[in-house]
Symmetry: C2
Subunit: 350 residues, 2 copies
């Protein structure tokens, strides 16, 4: 197979972890005789610095014309503490998601047997946890109209959804459940929000197309509790953009480190693969960032293109690294392996 | 002291746990020679059943004319699965919060040494955790305009804040921090939301009035993770209505059971005290519901009226019950004590 891949490594630790992901892909290319062609482009704070825009037109055009996107991380503390900045790194990612119609963000959550001791949660609670979050990525509070008044003493954000936005990701979630343990849990706040009530109605209707899949409901406050109390109960967790952001980060504690969590953002024509962790600027260029999330996002990329054996190979190599304790300091306090060494080990193992 | 207390016990397990809270208050009255006069009124599903409204005028009037409110729980599964119901139990509570100007919801989070084994989180992570959530309760996505279109294929909820709403609770949070470990953490999503940026600006300005208190910021997704990874880092966690709802329920896993978590809702003229757990309809009338959250809300009530010794007495009695394992089944699977027995033990101990 030939794949043209846009590489948007972004800010902070983005470039160094993405580098390891490329190594893994190159190794797969050699072993299975695929050709992966990478093209780099700017996004986020680095793009603002170079071009004044968080998503330069050139980057967007490249992404429209490649088979998929490998994404690093974006963000910079200088923007975080400046609430009045009108141009921000995050706008780059949000615009990219919207322009390319990447409406479903898929985040697998798994308890790794070798890593349970790094999780703050007890082993007996974690054991066997294996679920996937389907987060809507093109709507909700993220993209509705935002206002402030002239004196900047008032602000608003609009949360909006329409039936077709909900329907699209719901079908994906039910299809995923069919191939898994056949359970979808819709998380919302239907006792308060009108948009949640729309979600509940649309999802309930679509569920009738998938009679073998069980559908149940949780309020988001309860879900935030259940994810820690009893994570095994979940199979496919379907939710909106904001709730998905919060709950999937929370759920990352299950795997032992957010440095392990990969995600795929899928649309009808485009796809993007990224670690769920942020830019982690403090760790930049120190060779301490965990590259596994980025490497596992490569496995999701391969699966997306039907290269299941190749994806398994990547996952197996990651598991070998973990079980041999070839991991970064977030997983083993006194580890002597850095970002590069873990990346090399995994690539060599492939 | 003489206090006239409106008792809104509501739905599900609300009445039975509130009954135990009244027992505790009565015991305090006897020991310290205070007079607590209770007046019952309907709210929630039971109010809809009796009067057609989730918050009857009579209830609201009573609440306006009492010193404070003791609240149980509201909700009923028949409304949850009916997204089109126009009248809902939750509207009663939301309207009460708004009408009485109860703008600050205060939720203490503590790891109880005797209960750490019931928490899903490891003891070494929990040890020493002691923080308090200040959740804004009169604004945000809960109260902004809600719309649906005619065909009900579109819905929206508006999140709004103005400077004075934010300022009020922020001052309370900083005052609380002054009397504690002098740290306020503002949780928001300022990298995406305009309202969050307003929060960040207003809170940053107010912080200068409290130079001895340290202010820091966390994005809500990161906060949802940090609450589990490292709960000891928090002292006062300040946040908006929706984030506060999600994070405080999540944080309840720290104490070992949501059945232990009390809260106070405070305004300039009124105050309401309630367990944070919901109506838990499945447990209704089975004498298995944990009354401790409701009883601890009585301790918050007493503190609010300056009765600190009395509040300590209630807390000590609760701690005695816990350390003697006089607790309900949520805390000890094979417990032979029910709601009533735990309530009686605590009242007798006072
Ligand atoms: C960087 C930020 C805008 C983004 C989000 O909130 O979607 C991130 O937290 C994520 O989850 O991908
Ligand atoms: C019942 C519901 C409307 C309420 C809320 O979301 O505020 C509850 O979850 C709470 O936290 O008090």
């Amino acid at each position: 197979m030939n794949l043209k891949i846009a590489v948007l490594s972004g800010d902070g630790i983005g470039p160094e972890v993405t580098m390891q992901a490329k190594k893994a892909l190159n190794a797969i290319g050699v072993v299975y005789n695929h050709e992966f062609v990478f093209e780099d482009a700017y996004i986020g704070a680095i793009a603002i610095e170079k071009t004044g825009k968080p998503l330069p037109d050139q980057t967007l055009n490249l992404c429209r014309n490649t088979d998929c996107i490998l994404f690093g991380a974006i963000g910079d503390p200088i923007y975080d503490n400046n609430p009045t900045a009108k141009v921000r790194p995050e706008q780059g990612l949000l615009k990219l998601r919207k322009e390319l119609g990447l409406y479903a963000n898929i985040r697998p959550i798994k308890a790794y047997p070798h890593l349970m001791s790094s999780s703050p949660i007890k082993k007996e609670v974690l054991d066997g946890t294996d679920f996937v979050v389907y987060r809507e990525l093109n709507g909700g509070l993220y993209f509705g109209k935002k206002t402030t008044n002239e004196t900047e003493t008032y602000a608003s954000d609009l949360c909006e959804y329409n039936e077709s936005e909900i329907a699209k990701i719901t079908h994906l979630a039910f299809k995923a459940a069919q191939a898994r343990r056949k359970k979808v849990t819709l998380v919302d706040k239907a006792n308060v929000l009108e948009t949640s009530r729309l979600w509940r109605r649309v999802v309930t209707e679509i569920a009738t197309d998938y009679p073998e899949v069980e559908l149940n409901f949780l309020y988001v406050d309860n879900a935030a509790m259940q994810i820690i109390l009893n994570p095994r109960q979940f199979d496919v967790l379907l939710t909106d953009n904001l709730f998905g952001d919060i709950l999937s980060d929370e759920a990352s504690v299950i795997s032992g480190s957010i440095g392990l969590m990969a995600s795929a953002s899928i649309g009808d024509y485009h796809s993007l693969f990224e670690p769920i962790h942020g830019c982690y600027t403090e760790a930049k260029d120190k060779n301490i960032a965990n590259p596994i999330a980025s490497i596992l996002s490569v496995a999701m990329l391969l699966e997306h293109f039907g290269l299941f054996e190749e994806a398994k190979k990547v996952i197996a190599a990651v598991e070998t690294a973990i079980s041999n304790q070839v991991v970064t300091v977030d997983l083993k306090v006194d580890s002597r392996f850095g970002t590069n060494e873990v990346g090399d080990f995994i690539a060599n193992h492939i």
